[in-house]
Symmetry: C2
Subunit: 219 residues, 2 copies
């Protein structure tokens, strides 16, 4: 016979929380312990209470999901966390995993995956929704993207790999010197990429680059 799995949900959108609760309630083995609307609430909650699984939105005001994970890590809080994100960026997934997350759900994935993810992570496994799994697989195996899936992304492919890396970092608010630190290259080189990006994408400035990245699903 099974023990119930207790779940805490954290997201700044109450509607989404209630939706997740509704979906979870369809399963007999899982119970909602409570919810939080901000990262601060999550941290406060974790000091007193606990749950088997924490479903955590990365995009929250005040303290975001990353802050919460960092808090857990530095306080050695052993909390199994499933990340909920609207973006399926592989680098983000990697960062989350390094911060101790056990599962990663894209908001684009169907609700049924929540239940699967909860049960998998509660059982000590990892769980990723399909789209993220694909991306991870491609990244680690160096596989090329199937030709039929992404029609528009070929336009963005006039950008080189390195340019794309720089572009992503620009879109994440990094300055030239920060990027140079992250990629271990000279600031001069980063500036060269910036100029190249501006020329290729025909936008005026870093904001234009960020918007380009958004529109072309690069982020």
């Amino acid at each position: 016979m099974k023990e119930k799995i207790y779940v805490h949900v954290a997201d700044d959108h109450k509607i989404l929380i209630e939706g997740i609760i509704a979906v979870i309630n369809t399963d007999k083995d899982i119970e909602i312990e409570g919810y939080s609307l901000t990262g601060k609430e999550v941290i406060d909650w974790s000091k007193e209470k606990t749950a088997d699984i924490l479903i955590l939105d990365i995009n929250m005001p005040i303290f975001d999901g990353i802050d919460v994970l960092k808090f857990f890590q530095s306080n050695k809080t052993d909390q199994k966390v499933i990340i909920l994100s609207s973006y399926d960026d592989v680098n983000l997934v990697k960062q989350m995993l390094n911060l101790g997350a056990k599962g990663f759900l894209s908001k684009n994935s169907a609700g049924e995956h929540i239940v699967k993810a909860i049960k998998a992570v509660a059982a000590g496994e990892q769980y990723f929704s399909d789209d993220i799994q694909n991306n991870l697989f491609k990244l680690y195996t160096g596989q090329k993207v199937a030709e039929g899936e992404r029609p528009e992304s070929t336009i963005a492919h006039s950008l080189t790999e390195r340019e794309l890396e720089v572009l992503k970092l620009i879109a994440k608010e990094n300055s030239t010197s920060e990027i140079s630190g992250i990629l271990n290259i000279s600031t001069n080189t980063v500036e060269t990429y910036r100029k190249s990006l501006l020329k290729k994408t025909k936008v005026k400035n870093a904001v234009g680059l960020a918007m380009y990245a958004v529109k072309n699903n690069i982020i």
Copy 2:
């Protein structure tokens, strides 16, 4: 005896759609007709089918909610629409109303409001979630707002009208001097707004502001 109310849901996050469906299904009078994951799907859907109520996320890829409303307006499609938004900007609400929306739900509001909104709009009324109602009252009538519970999260990102204007122009790649020209104010003033925006949104630079605008559908 009552007729059932048929609802179509459009949002790019499937989890949120399923959540909304789960919430709606608790009510006997309301039935889900179907859902769409992009604005394009909504437009295609509207050409063939119909529902009493369309719940429409403004923040969708390819065609966003505004595009859908514009399509309805230019095609004289008589579709009652309830807008679902993560941002409660009053200007946005005004724009939506002018485009024919009948209700406006902030994603910060509780799920129960969905049912209320559907019934109100189906009955020919308008509906706004509490936080938006407060803002509207302030703007139009200057009436005193009831002292209900208001979480800090909504107050956190309350940008002024002028700040929103500047933010939009920044997100459109305009420089400070260009914005000063467009708004007919001094460059110094524009810089003051930039600083204020950076402080309020807690982002590092103009790129962060642009991303904030995207995420909160201010653009």
